[in-house]
Amino acid sequence: MDIKTLLELMFGLLTVASAIWVAFTPKLLHAGFSLLFTFFGVAGLYVMLGADFLAAVQVLVYIGGILVLLLFGILLTTAMPTAELTVGGTRRGQGLALGMLLLGLLLLAVFRAGWPLSMNALPETTASDIGKGFMTTWLLPFEVASILLLGAMLGALHLARRAGEDQ
């Protein structure tokens, strides 16, 4: 086993184990912190797959931004940090069935699919290709993303403001 396979396994294990922890711990705050390792493991996997830019985004946005916001959300809500979640519950069977279906589909995608656009050689870095894409072919999604972010911020600020007024 070479070092690459070893690292891939390590990151995969980290991702899966911490994700399981997120799903099954009754403590919300623990779930939040465990998500850190899930995000980090996914970032590692991105690097192993040659997606350097995506890995940087994963760390910058998901760990540095979204997770922080999520933890703030937990800590800012009075009862949340110490609340015990009910794990499982009545819909366990349905959840399991849906999860199995999605897992089956993923396994199918991994083992049976031949992607028409697969590349033989990975590009050394992906940032410049992504940049070119944003500025040309994918210009519309790029600009729409700014409206998306602005709308989300506008609404979230408004909702946060409302919540603050209640006290």
Binding site: A109, A113, I147, L148, L150, G151, L159
Partner: protein
């Protein structure tokens, strides 16, 4: 590098509407909220300018390197969304003002949502489709929670957000599998991409993607079995927002849905049974649940579920060769007109009565305002599909398209459930005309609401009598 494919003009309506939203935000910030009363004019100006550009398109070439199309589908979707905005914004601002909701946020979020809806109707590739869905959804989540002090509004926003995020996840996962196996993000090229991999293992992955995508879209349009969020969200949101969700958002979602299914016509045997079962269940459940509601807003919510069923039937016909989206395109406009006006009327009548949208508020409405009662009857019968109103033509076209495509059983089911719908819609009409009023005194409409109701009523009549007007207009664009 070749930039002839940029063609910004193809996207001018969207740019104008989103620009209007940005301007509203900027003006609100610049004037520190002192000029909020004028913002509605800014918004309406941008919407009307967008309408003008739609009706007189500078270009029919796709813009932004194929990301934005301007075909009949895009045209119809844009016009429908903009028409809903024209009807809803003035009434919505009056509603916001009377309930002390923030007008600037209402207006700019509505315009951003409309941008997403229009982009969805004209999306040429899956990335734009997804982003457009997200723009409209996220704006609507926030709009649903606009009435923050009220528990039901907060709950509506949260329910909508959770259900919607779940749906977005399915949609995105499905898109990834589908575009990966078809080797393209271009919606129109999905069919040929799938044909290339048919018979291989990839085919199954692609079909899984198709199913997931359809599930996500069914969620977004509120069809059975993914309808559980509809009642709570529609009845908890501020009424003008509910009106926006059930009209413009639904029209745009169906436009996007139609575009995807049209591209997947070559694998129709995979999704037609699925959509068929959902369409049948949606028609039955929507109509029967609407029938037993004692609350006008909830009744409209479930009736919009029922209409989603009819629209799904129209989409199924697309799966068969040779059927166009004409029936769906036609169905949407009168549905949007009638629903938008009815929700605004509901807000008005409820405010003058019980305050919680009871059907009893409509008792004796004819004595208090005969014109309003008459127009209410017209709008409700239009939704029910009574000739000569446009709702009838819409249903007729959908059912006949379904029969031509070989879905006779579902068409019959549609006709039978339409009969149930007639009873649903007749109840407020009977209350209005044949019951004694519980409250006396005239119920006067302000100018804005009267305009909306008259325009919607006239539109229903006009489209019902001359359906070709609208269809020819749509067909004349982009061919």
């Amino acid at each position: 590098m070749d930039f002839s494919g940029l063609n910004v003009a193809a996207l001018l309506p969207e740019l104008l509407v989103s620009g209007g939203g940005l301007l509203v935000m900027a003006l609100h910030a610049a004037f520190r909220g002192r000029q909020d009363r004028q913002l509605v004019w800014v918004s309406l100006a941008s919407v009307v300018a967008a309408l003008a550009f739609c009706l007189n398109p500078l270009t029919v070439e796709p813009g932004y390197f194929g990301s934005a199309l301007s075909d009949p589908m895009a045209f119809a979707g844009r016009i429908t969304v903009l028409a809903a905005l024209v009807l809803l914004l003035p009434g919505g601002v009056a509603y916001a003002r009377s309930r002390n909701l923030p007008q600037a946020e209402y207006l700019s979020l509505s315009l951003f949502a409309a941008t997403g809806m229009m982009a969805l109707a004209s999306a040429g590739d899956l990335i734009v489709l997804f982003l457009a869905v997200e723009v409209l959804s996220i704006s609507l989540y926030c709009l649903a929670g606009l009435m923050g002090e009220r528990e039901s509004s907060r709950q509506a926003a949260l329910t909508y957000f959770l259900a919607g995020s779940f749906a977005s996840g399915f949609l995105l996962f499905g898109m990834a599998l589908l575009s990966g196996s078809a080797g393209t993000l271009d919606i129109a090229a999905l069919g040929t991409g799938l044909a290339r991999v048919s018979g291989t293992g990839t085919q199954w992955v692609a079909l899984g993607g198709v199913v997931l995508m359809i599930a996500g879209l069914l969620f977004k349009v509120g069809a059975v079995p993914f309808h559980s969020w509809v009642a709570e969200v529609y009845s908890g949101s501020p009424t003008v927002v509910t009106a926006f969700m059930s009209t413009a958002a639904k029209a745009a979602a169906f436009a996007g849905f139609g575009r995807v299914l049209l591209a997947l016509g070559s694998v129709s045997e995979a999704w037609v049974p699925l959509v068929g079962i959902c369409a049948g269940a949606t028609m039955i459940l929507g109509n029967f649940t609407a029938l037993v509601q004692g609350n006008f807003k909830r009744m409209l919510a479930f009736s919009s579920v029922a209409h989603a069923g009819y629209l799904l039937l129209g989409l199924m016909a697309v799966g068969a060769a040779g059927e166009s989206l004409e029936a769906v395109i036609f169905y949407l406009l009168p549905y949007v007109l009638a629903n938008a006006a009815l929700f605004l009327v509901a807000a008005k009548v409820s405010q003058a009565g019980s305050g919680n949208y009871k059907l009893d508020d409509y008792k004796g409405l004819a004595r208090r305002n005969p014109w309003l009662a008459g127009l209410l009857a017209l709008l409700l019968l239009g939704l029910a599909g009574m000739p000569p109103l446009a709702g009838f033509m819409g249903k007729f076209m959908v059912f006949s398209a379904a029969v031509r495509a070989g879905h006779t059983g579902l068409a019959v089911l549609g006709i039978l459930t339409s009969v149930v719908a007639v009873f649903t819609y007749l109840r407020p009409v009977v209350y209005a005309w044949f019951h004694e009023p519980e409250e006396s005194g005239a119920l006067n409409l302000d100018g804005g609401l009267a305009f909306v109701v008259w325009v919607a009523g006239a539109g229903l009549l006009l489209l019902g009598l001359w359906p070709r007007l609208w269809l020819d207009l749509c067909a004349g664009i982009g061919v």
